[in-house]
Point group: C2
Chain length 460, copies 2
């Protein structure tokens, strides 16, 4: 069913409250699409539809709603249904949901669950947000090294009904330590009587629960894994991160790169989201960066104001301040994004070798850009304002130096940011602008005094 | 083996040329890690090591080298080995490699291959770069709808040795049209005698070969697929895109988002890469954007120069031009990145409803930012330069209007960009700066004449 038809059906069903109809649609529609359609209804209209579903189906669908939406639906749900959710939701999604409950709600919920569920939730929910543990699901299948292929397959048939994935199976010894992995594919292709030990992949890639979750996603991408085993401090396996979760993690991280560059990330590391972030927080985070830029700008403008004498002699100098200092920031922005991008792709690291390499590459380009833009600006300045040769010299020379210097400094800033442990994308943009503004006015008026200083002497 | 040990071993082996040693390491090391280590050697030293491997192993390793490196190695390789590469490499990687050969080399290569290989290469290589087809591999396993589970498993065992993936199997009818998909997991869990038709997932998500490859990656991420079937114009299946390739596609795309915002993407859509892009191209692309900004800047500076009379009366006005017009660009940059990010995550679409929604959210924030920054600037201006009330009024009012307006315009620019079919990230940054510079000086001098105009009358 295409998008419009689905939307129409859902709207009709929400009015007619036709349970059989909705259950049927839910059975044949992918959760992502169904959630998109349901998102166009209010919570009051969505809930009755959800309650028409079997608990298992409802829980799987629920996990696909955005977190904000989940919280709204949960608040309106009868207690029975809430407990059922926690019984049937995938292990990692329900741990996240649990962490968003208030203390009161948590205390009410836990006694209603079985011990197995309670232990699982408490364990999975104990990992701080942003860690590998918080992205881990305990829904995986494990086998023993001594099993034969036939026994392993039988074990899978018996237990795998609700696992997140059985494409990769994890070989654990009796102490629950990870000994290897074996692909379902290998089990299917191998002779029945071989032992797991003889076909398993030893020394598998794994991640620790306390690592940043981005590291898990990178490992999955680098090694083309379907699922990454996660161990705790004692090397015991606690769960897995699946490749689909890895894709989502990377998507969020990369969406955040531009946000960090544009100064729209709050202190706790969360991107501002234009749709969902509370307006107060939006204001607070943005005003922080703008205020910083304003304060930096005061230094620059105070310096310019102090050049009153020279300016009053050559008013037209005022017209070129902005374009010249801007160009340093523009060029620096370009080289910074080049370096940030390569760092994000893992191509550049924080090493003197890479710094030197970048400088070698940027120097000729920045010089070339400086000369070209300086000539262009001088030509345009002459034809638009008819300024004299001496002012052209000032404008051209400053443009050249600012552009070239901006390029070099912009390329070095991401390295400097990482050196002090800050995020390159966050630090670079405001820093480039501010630094090049300040350097720019010094250079500009420096050349102005050099070429036009005689005017002051003459006047004074 | 950890990174340093591996590096040491590889270096030693490249000197001792110990074939057995290298083959053994290659067998126990993941290709990604081995390639990282080999990248530290020159091509002359890498090639002898590669030639120690069996053709199949060599081809799988080769596919992990960066494209530049692949081309260098290929050029140094004996012809026999080149043919072997094309015989054994994964179908999508070798199609890419084929497309990078010169016409001469292509003509020499094709006769040396079997017909099956030749047809496959020509077909897979025919899809333009950037399309789904160019990311497609023909290494997949298909089954017929009438097969039983037992027959399907037997078929897999017979044919699956070198398939990219058998976790998902594709159900094709006798005309090679895609009828459904079935997971290996489902085959393992189902009763042997059931037919494929009874357990397959009908109406599977698929992609057309001519679609942009990013669309394939998005489908894979949205529907949590392991492999996405790809069909041609006639609805016949030509291959699959696997989830690991989807992760790589998205990684490149997202790395490019920042590049586009920073003005470092060439006309053909390729990101500039600080390490590998030829310096001439680097210069050409960057000077293009900087020149555009310079030309826009001339309009602004010409206008400022024309305000000579007012400026000569109130020199200190010159000091505030840059901070005020900059703030419009800064605020606009923030709101633009917010909108671009949400667009990239699929949360905002090109629709009046979303435009209106964004304006509603941005208006109060932009107004609040405007007031706050205007007051801050006025205070700083007073204490740093001791300017009079009238100048403070000019500075404060312009700052307020520029900041607020910048925020609104910045939020709308990505929508405008998409409306004219341009990429929002590419268009927004230079546009914001230029537009807000121009609007900024108009507003600034507008207020200046309003509050300080009497000075001109008095003087004139």
């Amino acid at each position: 069913m295409n998008r419009e038809d689905l939307l129409f059906s859902i709207r009709t069903l929400s009015l007619s409250l036709d349970a059989a109809g909705f259950v049927s649609i839910a059975a044949t529609t992918h959760p992502s699409d169904l959630v998109d359609a349901l998102d166009t209804l209010s919570v009051d209209k969505t809930l009755p539809l959800l309650m028409m579903l079997e608990p298992q189906v409802r829980a799987e669908l629920f996990a696909h709603f955005a977190e904000i939406r989940q919280d709204q639906l949960l608040a309106a749900m009868p207690r029975e249904a809430v407990v059922q959710l926690f019984e049937h939701m995938p292990s990692d999604d329900r741990a996240d949901l649990y962490n968003r409950l208030g203390e009161d709600a948590k205390q009410k919920l836990l006694p209603a669950l079985t011990k197995v569920e309670r232990d699982d939730i408490l364990k999975m929910a104990s990992y701080p947000e942003g860690t590998v543990g918080s992205a881990t699901t305990s829904d995986y299948v494990w086998v023993s090294p001594e099993m034969t292929v036939a026994q392993a397959l039988a074990h899978i048939r018996a237990t795998a009904l609700h696992s997140e994935t059985v494409n990769i199976l994890f070989v654990l010894d009796h102490t629950l330590r990870l000994r290897g992995t074996v692909a379902l594919r290998d089990l299917v292709l191998a002779n029945e009587n071989r032992t797991i030990t003889s076909i398993m992949h030893e020394q598998p890639v794994s991640a620790k629960a306390h690592w940043p979750r981005l590291q898990a996603a990178e490992l999955i991408r680098r090694y083309d894994l379907l699922a990454l085993p996660v161990t705790n401090g004692g090397d015991r396996m606690i769960g897995i991160v699946t490749v689909d979760d890895a894709m989502d993690i990377e998507k969020e991280q990369d969406a955040s790169q531009l946000a960090r560059f544009g100064g729209t990330v709050s202190g706790n590391g969360n991107d501002l989201d234009v749709r969902s972030t509370p307006l107060k927080q939006m204001f607070r985070v943005r005003v922080f960066w703008l205020a910083i830029l304003t304060c930096f700008g005061i230094v620059t403008s105070t310096f310019v104001a102090a050049q009153e004498e020279l300016l009053s002699q050559v008013i037209v100098l005022a017209a070129f301040i902005a374009p010249i200092v801007d160009m340093g920031g523009n060029t620096g922005s370009q080289s910074a994004t080049l370096v940030i991008r390569s760092m994000a792709l893992g191509e550049l690291k924080l090493s003197w070798r890479d710094v030197w390499f970048v400088i070698q590459r940027e120097l000729p380009v920045a010089a070339g850009l400086g000369i070209t833009i300086a000539v262009l600006e001088a030509i345009l300045a002459y034809f638009s304002k008819g300024v004299g040769m001496d002012v052209l010299l000032v404008v051209g020379s400053s443009m050249l130096v600012c552009t070239a210097l901006g390029g070099i400094i912009g390329a070095l800033l991401p390295f400097a940011a990482r050196r002090i442990g800050a995020d390159p994308a966050t630090l670079s943009a405001p820093m480039i602008t501010s630094i090049m503004d300040l350097i720019g006015v010094f250079i500009y008026f420096g050349f102005a005094y050099a070429f036009l200083g005689d005017l002051l002497i003459a006047a004074g």
